[in-house]
């Protein structure tokens, strides 16, 4: 499979008057064509900032301080805003969390949809209109010819998110980033939107990054997962290993805090005690160590490398080190990612 996107040691910080907030602190991952990568983590874990960094849309006072984002061989962090704009909405596009506020209220859906098409293709207005109608049909909006003339306030939340998706896929992006696309929607609509995204993936043959804090959504849609915490990657895995054999205490904590009612028994949810780290002055070691039931001395001092559990699973936890004490469920491995 061909590598589409490669992120190396990405750091993104916000320079506020209180100091530097390190939202993303050195993350690496590789995305291959056709992947659906889920990025999961609680609020403030850096998942949205990661996606905005890829888009080059980190707002002032934030910026990428270190690392590279290589898309099809081009390092996006080296490009000017004008050069990046050629990628945005074209090769890389993004769907945002809140469809109610993410579409301009004073222009019609068709106007905004055609604008993107005209921006990135050589189509005439007539052709763009045809394409816009086709796109609305594709995302399941009935009577697209009529709906094209509608304004956002005449669309329901689910319809708006469909329109956002139409906008995002209008130029057949190679990479589609969806930042919590279903969070603001009703549960029944959530399922429809996810189903739509999955079916579109095959139709337009795109690679997807799906950001969410919902592990259920990830299990349903993705083939790869990254678990983020405190601006770092805790565990990176393919989907089966993550659910069957989580290798990081934080991943386990997340899985235990998902409500499940398989057997009909009443199970108490197990919360993760404590709160996420303050990214203004993050602890020097593993960001999860203050909340980790297995925390050791070294965890407070130094963040663990990504230990290679298998070819498809990596976890940033010292429990995998050969010298670590035996904890049930965690395997010992010899090397980390770089070895």
């Amino acid at each position: 499979m061909k590598t589409l996107l490669e992120i190396n040691n990405l750091h993104t910080s916000f320079f506020t008057h209180l100091g530097e907030v390190q939202a993303v602190r050195g993350i690496d991952f590789v995305l291959e064509e056709g992947d659906i990568l889920g990025i999961v983590g609680e609020s403030g874990s850096g998942k949205s900032v990661t996606s905005l960094s890829i888009m080059g849309l980190v707002d002032d006072p934030g910026r990428i301080t270190e690392g590279s984002i290589v898309f099809e061989g081009v390092d996006l962090t080296k490009l000017t805003n004008e050069q990046l704009a050629e990628y945005r909405g074209n090769d890389i596009s993004m769907i945002f969390q809140d469809p109610m506020t993410s579409i301009n209220p004073v222009y019609s859906i068709g106007n905004q949809l055609m604008e993107v098409i005209l921006r990135h293709t050589k189509m005439t207005k007539e052709e763009a209109k045809e394409r816009a109608i086709e796109l609305l049909k594709m995302v399941g909006i009935p009577e697209p010819e009529v709906r094209l003339k509608n304004y956002p306030h005449q669309f329901s939340g689910g319809m708006r998110q469909r329109a956002m998706i139409a906008m995002a896929i209008s130029c057949n992006p190679k990479l589609l980033i969806a930042d919590e696309p279903t969070t603001a929607l009703d549960v029944t609509i959530q399922a429809q939107i996810l189903e739509l995204m999955r079916s579109l993936k095959d139709k337009i043959n795109t690679t997807i990054i799906l950001i969410t804090h919902d592990l259920g959504v990830i299990a349903e849609v993705c083939n790869k997962v990254i678990v983020m915490y405190g601006g770092m990657i805790m565990e990176r895995s393919n989907i089966e290993s993550l659910y069957d054999n989580p290798q990081h205490p934080y991943t386990r904590g997340l899985l235990q805090s998902v409500p499940k009612n398989v057997t009909g028994k009443k199970n108490r949810l197990i919360p993760i005690e404590g709160s996420p780290p303050d990214l203004l002055s993050p602890p020097p070691g593993c960001p999860f160590s203050p909340r980790c039931p297995h925390a050791m001395e070294i965890c407070l001092k130094e963040a663990a490398p990504l230990f290679k559990i298998s070819d498809t699973q990596f976890a940033s936890c010292w429990l995998h080190h050969v010298d670590a004490p035996e904890v049930e469920g965690y395997v010992k491995v010899a090397g980390d990612e770089n070895e």
Partner: protein
């Protein structure tokens, strides 16, 4: 849609009627009358005057008579300006007030809005601080101070700028430069206010999610700002500009007095102390009508800018 405007016009007429009624009775409730002097007129003469102007009729009859006049666009004779009717006063005074006012309104929009946009885009940079400093001065310094400063500092030193209004300009220079002082004095406050309003509204809009979407779609920065941000940012500005235009077009007592402009601004003030009943009410009606027209224009402009308003009225949802 048509129904909506018919309805709006009917509402406007009703508002005008209320304005006339309230003004009429409040005016008559104030002690004294047009012919009350410090040195009392002989009662016989006062009686004759009152009879001539029908001031001895019962109040309600006066009211009905006046309404009858208004319907035929006759605002009655002035009690103080010899031989002139209120219609004459407006006809003679309004063009000067309107000319100066119109130039002021154009300046306010043409300078205030771009200044606000630039400030917002360069937030916390030098140009933003400089513009907002000037805008604060503009809002706080009263027009008569601006006018006086203009005359003593600028008009007095540059002879091509007339010190006061030139009624019949003999050359192109006077015809243009006579506007400078009055327009600066008249527009200072509103220009500053509009630029501050545009700035804050623009800053607010630039933080919206749909601006991020526009950028995520790869649109150029110019398109993001002038297409996606500006239209949204102008909504509060339009709200302010309508009533403001009505106030400025009807002239300012202070500015017209200082620059000796033969406008109608002074009648608003003088008619009240003179108890010049017909002028008070005539000016009030004139101002109210202009105001209502402007508000109506704002509503029409809204419909063009914001589809939520347009369709909301039509579809009722």
């Amino acid at each position: 849609m048509k129904n909506y405007y018919v309805q709006r016009v009917l509402y406007a007429l009703f508002t005008l009627y209320i304005v006339i009624t309230v003004t009429f009775f409040m005016m008559h409730a104030i002690p004294g009358g047009p012919f009350t002097r410090e040195r009392h007129l002989p009662p016989e003469i006062e009686a004759i005057l009152n009879e001539k102007y029908h001031l001895d009729d019962p109040l309600f009859k006066q009211y009905i008579d006046y309404l009858g006049g208004v319907v035929t666009f006759d605002l009655g004779p002035s009690f103080k300006e010899l031989g002139l009717t209120v219609n004459d006063l407006i006809r003679e005074g309004f063009p000067s007030s309107m000319n100066v006012g119109l130039v002021s309104v154009i300046m306010i929009i043409a300078i205030g809005v771009p200044l606000g946009i630039i400030s917002a885009l360069k937030q916390n940079k030098f140009i933003d601080h400089a513009a907002m400093f000037l805008a604060t001065l503009g809002v706080t310094i009263p027009s008569f101070v601006i006018a006086t400063l203009f005359i003593t500092l600028i008009a007095a030193n540059f002879t091509f700028i007339p010190i006061s209004w030139v009624n019949d300009p003999q050359n192109v220079g006077d015809a243009i430069f006579r506007y400078i002082g009055p327009v600066i004095a008249l527009s200072g406050y509103s220009l500053s206010f509009v630029s501050r309003l545009t700035r804050s509204s623009m800053l607010e809009v630039l933080r919206q999610d749909y601006i991020r979407t526009a950028r995520a779609n790869g649109l150029s920065e110019r398109r993001v700002i002038f297409k996606h941000a500006l239209k949204n940012a102008l909504i509060p500005v339009v709200t302010y500009v309508g009533p403001m235009a009505a106030a400025i077009l009807t002239g300012s007592f202070v500015v017209e007095r200082i620059f000796v402009i033969p406008g109608i601004g002074r009648y608003f003030v003088e008619s009240v102390s003179n108890r010049d009943y017909t002028v008070i009410i005539g000016m009030t009606i004139f101002y109210a009508a202009l105001y209502i027209v402007m508000v109506l224009l704002v509503d029409v402009a809204y419909a063009f800018i914001d589809p939520r308003i347009r369709l909301g009225k039509k579809m009722g949802d």
